[in-house]
């Protein structure tokens, strides 16, 4: 772990891939594919928010969608009212982060843990979902924005160049901006994880008792981690809102929370690449299934989820990394050294 992000080749590889996609992607790929990939980018940011708090803070939230939705609605309401998107984008990070801090205070200072923590986060999501669904009547207006209940808020502005409200981004530019945000979030999280704060988080994940016996305030720490994760989820929500140009209460849905869990789980807890891979794989699959009339898509997705849990409980990235390491060890030491050590650090390539 002490191998800092700065010296990790995997880290630079990821940034290079990201930058390459950012600059070269729009030149070589048609617009539809760009829009498609934009979606993966947005959801990757969302997946990273959970991947961070779960994998590097040991906080398992079943309600990450609460912040995603909050960010999306914040952006929608603010951008419709302000007529500009830069401030709303910032708000959509800050407001969910603040709410996450408040909820985190409520939970962690109440010493809630594991499954109970999960239920509380889930319940909060359900409350948001119910209330958002209930705003169909004309009396639910914030400034110029009708909340619209089940139908949601349509006509959300596309991102504009900061300071120039009329300079809307075209799909390729939107992709580039989002890709830049993804890279920034990824780099930011990697640096955060490599920082002392991040290392303490990992310590708390590994052994809460020891962390508090070293004098670290576990509760405060968790609140901060949770709040950062909430902010990132909110940012992803805002990106989602502007990408789709509409938002409805399903942004708060259980399904959204559950999807985030599955992405992280499939990709691998304790990595940052894993959640991104999870998004790409599973979203691609969902899309593909919707275009085939072979089987009910629920059957296939359900089967895949069960198979993942039973066969790859650690997720793709750690499993692959384990295989790679085993193979490497075997190749280096010959057959006698089959007892491959576990990878010595989390997130080495992540």
């Amino acid at each position: 772990m002490e191998k800092s992000a700065i010296r990790d080749p995997g880290f630079y590889l990821m940034i290079a891939i990201g930058l390459a996609a950012l600059f070269i992607g729009p030149l070589v790929v048609d617009m539809f594919t760009i829009m498609q990939v934009t979606q993966y980018v947005v959801l990757s940011v969302f997946a990273l928010s959970l991947g961070y708090i779960w994998g590097f803070g040991g906080i398992l939230s079943f309600g990450q969608a609460a912040f995603f939705g909050l960010g999306a609605y914040t952006f929608a309401v603010a951008s419709i009212n302000i007529g500009e998107t830069t401030i709303p984008l910032i708000l959509s990070f800050l407001l969910p982060a603040a709410f996450g801090a408040a909820l985190g205070y409520f939970m962690f200072y109440g010493k809630l843990s594991d499954v109970y923590l999960g239920v509380v986060t889930m319940v909060v999501t359900l409350i948001f979902w119910k209330l958002a669904n209930h705003t169909a009547g004309p009396e639910y207006v914030i400034g110029k924005a009708r909340l619209g209940g089940f139908n949601g808020i349509p006509s959300i502005p596309t991102l504009n160049i900061p300071g120039e409200p009329d300079a809307w981004l075209d799909p390729a530019q939107l992709f580039q901006v989002f890709m830049a945000i993804l890279i920034a979030v990824y780099v930011g999280l990697r640096l955060l994880i490599a920082s002392d704060f991040g290392r303490v988080s990992i310590g708390i994940r590994e052994n809460e008792t020891r962390a508090s016996l070293l004098g670290y305030d576990v509760r405060k720490h968790k609140v901060i981690v949770f709040s950062i994760g909430s902010g990132i989820a909110g940012l992803a929500g805002a990106m989602w809102a502007t990408y789709q140009s509409f938002i409805d209460p399903n942004a708060f849905g259980m399904e959204m929370s559950a999807k985030a869990l599955v992405w992280v789980m499939a990709g691998g807890v304790g990595t940052l690449v894993g959640p991104i891979l999870g998004v790409i794989l599973l979203q691609w699959l969902t899309l593909k299934l919707g275009m085939m009339e072979l089987l009910n898509s629920f059957v296939v997705l359900g089967a895949i989820m069960m198979a993942l849990v039973l066969a790859l409980p650690k997720g793709m990235v750690p499993t692959l990394r384990g295989w790679a390491l085993t193979g490497w060890t075997l190749a280096r030491r010959g057959r006698g050294a089959a007892r491959a050590k576990k990878p010595g650090e989390e997130g080495g390539a992540g």
Binding site: Y116, V309, L310
Partner: protein, 288 residues
């Protein structure tokens, strides 16, 4: 006065409803610390068993009271053998696997039955309380909710199997060291929990009808009732169902169903904050 009685009755029915929805889940969670996220689909399966067998000419009571619990119970045992067994002690993994199972079941039932099946009419019709009509079936629901809890209590308290179950729940390793086949206990528990869920699904089918996706509406409420109640199956379920049911129903009467639901969730939230291990984690600790 009539209205007051009707309202009170409706509250009791809401409590009974929560008890029925969550009893099977509570049995499984209390005994095994496994969250069955496919719980809603187990209810759905119970409903489908009743509807299809009734349409095939089976007597309605037989379908609800015998076929539904039996078939869902058997299904539960198969699921335990194939999936849950491999995931003991991994709460989250079992949750995700059963969530996958729930999607699989929704899709599977849709493939087999299609998405629309004619329901069965709720038996018995209505009766008058003063100027009001209430469904007689409400009393059936209340009765069976009470019966389920009472039955579980009798089994746990007075039978050999119940004793073994309670011992396993408190200290599985020690029970094992005393010769208890805990894996059988878990299998049986999952089977019985599923059976109770099947019965509940059968009982609610005439009220709500059946569609493959119906479980989604119930799993959240059941989940919250169980967790709020805490580990004790009977007292936990009863206390949280009573609290959540009456408060949400009262709010529904006063302000409408959205606020009723929101009140249920808020109460659960506050309770969990105050009692992080659920109601029976702090009070009624020693109860069943």
């Amino acid at each position: 006065m009539d209205y007051f009685i009707v309202v009170a009755l409706e509250m009791v029915r809401a409590v009974a409803w929560l008890v029925l929805l969550s009893a099977g889940l509570a049995i499984i969670f209390g005994m095994m610390r496994v969250i069955n996220f496919a719980h809603g689909e187990f209810l759905m399966l119970g409903g489908y068993t009743v509807v299809t067998s009734t349409h095939a000419g089976v007597n309605e009571a037989v379908a609800i009271l015998i076929l539904a619990p039996l078939s869902v119970g058997l299904f539960g045992i198969i699921v335990e053998r194939l999936v849950i067994r491999r995931l003991y002690g991994r709460i989250l993994d079992s949750l995700l696997a059963t969530w996958g199972l729930s999607m699989l079941m929704i899709g599977g039932v849709t493939l087999i039955f299609g998405n629309t099946v004619e329901g069965i009419a709720s038996p018995f019709g209505g009766m008058a309380i003063g100027a009001y009509q209430v469904p007689i079936y409400n009393f059936v629901l209340i009765g069976f909710a009470a019966l389920v809890l009472f039955g579980v209590w009798v089994v746990l308290k007075f039978t050999r199997a119940g004793l073994i179950a309670r011992a396993t729940m408190q200290n599985p390793a020690m029970a094992e060291a005393l010769g208890v086949r805990t894996s059988w206990v878990y299998m049986a528990t999952f089977g019985i929990g599923s059976g109770v869920t099947g019965l509940a699904g059968g009982l609610i089918a005439p009220v709500t009808g059946v569609v493959p996706t119906m479980g989604v509406n119930f799993v959240g409420q059941a989940f919250i009732t169980v967790i709020t109640g805490g580990a004790a199956v009977i007292t936990g379920t009863l206390s949280s169902a009573t609290l959540l049911g009456t408060i949400s129903q009262a709010t529904t009467f006063l302000a409408g169903p959205v606020y009723g639901d929101a009140a249920l969730l808020l109460v659960a939230l506050v309770l969990l904050r105050l009692l992080p291990q659920g109601i029976t984690g702090r009070i009624f600790k020693r109860s069943l």
